[in-house]
């Protein structure tokens, strides 16, 4: 059954169609939640809440956007709610471009031992860097760079302007890159 039919059937109370929709998107939702919150348990909870919200409001889905886009909006909201419980972020909006784009960060990565690192060690470095980033920046970076949505699509999903997405994106990229550099220089 194609997705349009699945959605129509699910709206009419077909539990099998609903289960199929959930199955089709569970990996996408879980993976996105994990990339944003970097924690299996949290990703699992966010996924459950996302599909619970989807089922509750599927009747409001008008088909003007893709189901995936609509689901991303829901999962982003749940990720932001979860991430805001945490106040350890060191990267704040007020951080100046002066500190983000400081020339001291021009380090040649070809000399960094990235390839020699064990996966777990590298993962810890990536987790620790993204963990310091404000959730609003994390979701922009994940949607635009990791999930490869366009700037316009990302803006639509997050209900932000295109310049706001660009600004958050370039600051997030720079911050993460600097944090990874610092971790290797320790």
């Amino acid at each position: 059954m194609n997705e349009e039919l699945l959605i129509a059937s699910a709206k009419n109370g077909d539990r099998k169609a609903l289960a199929e929709l959930v199955k089709n998107y569970e990996q996408t939702v879980y993976s996105f939640a994990f990339k944003v919150c970097r924690n299996r348990e949290k990703a699992e909870n966010i996924m459950q809440e996302t599909f619970y919200s989807m089922i509750k409001s599927l009747h409001q889905f008008d088909g003007n956007s893709k189901l995936s886009t609509w689901l991303y909006r829901i999962v982003v909201n749940h990720c932001l709610m979860e991430a805001r419980k945490n106040s350890r972020y060191t990267f704040v909006e007020q951080e100046t471009d002066e500190s983000l784009f400081d020339e001291k960060y021009i380090a040649d990565w070809s000399s960094l031992p990235i390839k020699n690192l064990e996966t777990k060690e590298l993962r810890n470095i990536l987790d620790s860097a993204i963990d310091k980033l404000q959730p609003e920046y994390r979701v922009v970076f994940t949607l635009r760079d990791v999930e490869e949505y366009s700037t316009e699509e990302t803006a639509k999903m997050l209900e932000l302007s295109v310049p706001a997405v660009k600004s958050r994106l370039h600051r997030a990229r720079s911050f993460l890159r600097n944090e990874i550099t610092k971790a290797f220089q320790k």
Binding site: A19, Y30, S31, I106, W109, I114, L126, L176, I180, T181
Partner: protein, 80 residues
């Protein structure tokens, strides 16, 4: 056409903003020219690309039992 003058700091900021996007404006042309000759900025550009790549590769597969828990939470079953 006036030739744009850019500093390394301009380039670092612009690289992050424009990575993987169209680069045809006079500023972007100047950035490209700068990148070809400035080793530091070229390294910076590569490292930003690598940062994105590292996060892309760092994925997580849905554990098997999580699917079952999800279906139970939503009161759905695989065979209905």
């Amino acid at each position: 056409m006036n030739k744009e003058k850019v500093s390394c700091k301009d380039v670092m900021g612009h690289i992050c903003e424009s990575l993987s996007e169209e680069m045809n404006s006079p500023k972007c042309v100047a950035i490209k020219e700068h990148l070809e000759t400035c080793h530091g900025c070229k390294s910076y550009f590569t490292s930003v690309e690598m940062t994105i790549d590292l996060y892309k590769k760092c994925t997580e597969t849905l554990p098997g039992d999580v699917h079952k828990k999800l279906m139970a939470f939503l009161e759905l079953t695989d065979e209905q």
